[in-house]
Subunit: 264 residues, 3 copies
């Protein structure tokens, strides 16, 4: 079985996310489908790429991830499908899959991308504002059924890459920023474990507060105190133990975070 | 396999929607189940019927749709099950299935309806305020298992029809109203493609703004501008490209929308 | 097939709840999984235990319930798995499963509990702040696959019990409190059918209002009126027919509810 996941900004009130399951089950009856989330902020490619990055690699080999966060629907942006390592991606060509592409490149794994330009794999009638239902769902289902990418479309290599804000890393510190505020109010900073490990010992300044280095886990500070740990995907994460760090510090996406590792 | 869908106004915080899956899986283990949505506004039959209309026909033949938006639970309203065309419906008799019924009638397809009056297909103990769990879920599961409707209940024909506000269509225009504001803030108007195609060229007036005719897709206007297109289910849809039309125009369900096709 | 359910306070925006399905499907491909809810208030063990109590017993025998509401993640609290009657539980040892444990004890059914202390059943790399992904999901999946509890961990008996506020029951009444406000605004009171049946006839006082005894169902009062009925899990439930009782009465969790059964 090739599992399928869905990631959209459709919300779950309208049933549009569910229609995708109907279309898929017409092609692969009863195929297992997981909702990664449908609560991406409208058209927010950064948020969607963060969810992909933290979820995709935990799914079984050959899982098909259908991703429809699509500010360009109804323009000439291309529908694409791809294999990155052992996972499949289907969605608009807007850079949302960049973390999957770059990880496959970094690890010298398979990268195969096609432009979905064969209407015989689409629904018969394609609505110009709902490619999620009419193009991406049936194409994803055919991949789950075992149809090779090269039958679904024409090979391409020039897809769009989406670049997140990068930190400025110096020998004695780094200038970072808030990448994301999660559901708990934890603050995700745009720097990862591998960048930080050269910088210890260090002080982290954010929203007027200063934290003294990384801890291993929440339990290393008392309830209600600020703590910096590595997130489950190895980002710098600033939390309040059993509390809401973003509210406490009043920070938002894009706000500056300083790392200082001078030893004075 | 006969797929099952669930549509309720239970929300997803209490687990009541999930109990339905437990009850179903006791009768048909592992049967695939999709949540259409559980976020219908409490007791809002219009909203639920719109979700049904835009989703049901994309599911495989013989899918069973269990719909529990039930302002009449705990009164004498009847529990029913039906086959409309190649899809099954299970839920209270309150008109929520009218779009499915009328489509089947219009297309001369199967219409078979039963009053679910055989307690041997219900849970042993029926709670007077939770027929979704105790009557509709097990009856839906038995349909998925292949039990014929006529075993589950007594045939009836006099079910309730729910009528939406209809537009007043003239030769040179129409008086419509806002039927629904969707998750994105797009405005769904109570008139469809087939009614509008006789009226071109036309001006659409809503919330103090005037739009100049229908476009094919969002990409036909610049970002942030108002646009009128057909929705994926062929309703007149007014949007702001990558924005929120309902907020922009300050309109709500029931507000007037004018269509003027006089050529001056 | 052993079905699996998930209950967390992760929300559904981040994809963390979905990662659990990926981990599970690596071990038991395509296994059916239902989301009980992911919308528990952060770290709220009472809310989670109420959802468990009202859902678990409607699932097929041998269903595995993975529950991750875990204020103690990153402390020394133990990960556990258990069989209570014919249902399996996996999660942190924090008392959330107390209703399942006590029901099994009350009914003289199987109670078998293990401390999940065998890392060979965990993901290779365990993140100190995401045991839901790295310990509970794989262990739950192995139970679904048929691995006996005693292979997954060391038997224990001293798990934490979480006690809800209990009512003070007298011969002529009771002093209760609001246990929960549900999605509809219905008020769940911490007293059950078996306690109340000795107290009739009675008056129920809450938030300045007085209700005159229990009704069988919502339909026994006019639209918009207050009514007291038994909830689907036999708690005293105070509702407004097709309305929001908690808003009407301005009550919150913990507020007092009086039962007076003196006959004057």
């Amino acid at each position: 079985v090739r599992h399928i996941t869905l990631l959209t900004d459709f919300g779950t009130t309208e049933g549009e996310h569910a229609v995708m399951k109907g279309v898929i089950w017409n092609i692969v009856p009863g195929n297992p489908i997981a909702d990664l989330t449908h609560d991406i902020s409208p058209q927010n490619i950064l948020e969607a790429s963060l969810v992909l990055e933290r979820t995709v690699h935990y799914f079984p080999p050959e899982t098909v991830h259908i991703v429809v966060v699509d500010p360009g629907v109804g323009t000439s942006r291309r529908p694409i499908a791809a294999q990155f390592g052992d996972q499949f991606f289907v969605g608009p060509d807007n850079g949302v899959c960049t973390p999957l592409l770059e990880r496959a490149e970094r690890e010298n794994k398979t990268v195969e991308i096609v432009h979905l330009d064969k209407p015989k794999f689409w629904l018969e009638k394609v609505c110009s504002i709902f490619h999620g239902r009419d193009i991406f769902s049936p194409c994803g289902a055919y991949i789950a059924k075992g149809v090779p990418l090269k039958e679904l479309g024409t090979p391409i290599t020039d897809i769009i890459r989406f670049h997140r804000p990068t930190p400025k890393i110096r020998e004695d510190g780094a200038e970072c920023e808030v990448l994301h505020i999660d559901y708990y109010g934890n603050i995700i900073v745009n720097i990862q474990r591998e960048d930080l490990e050269g910088l210890r010992p260090m002080k982290i300044s954010i929203g007027g507060a200063i934290l003294d280095g990384m801890k291993d886990t929440f339990g290393d500070v008392p309830e209600g105190e600020l703590v910096a740990v590595y997130s489950p995907t190895d980002y710098l994460l600033i939390a309040v133990r059993n509390g809401n760090a973003a509210q406490r510090l009043g920070v938002r996406r894009g706000d500056p975070v300083g790392i200082d590792s001078t030893q004075t």
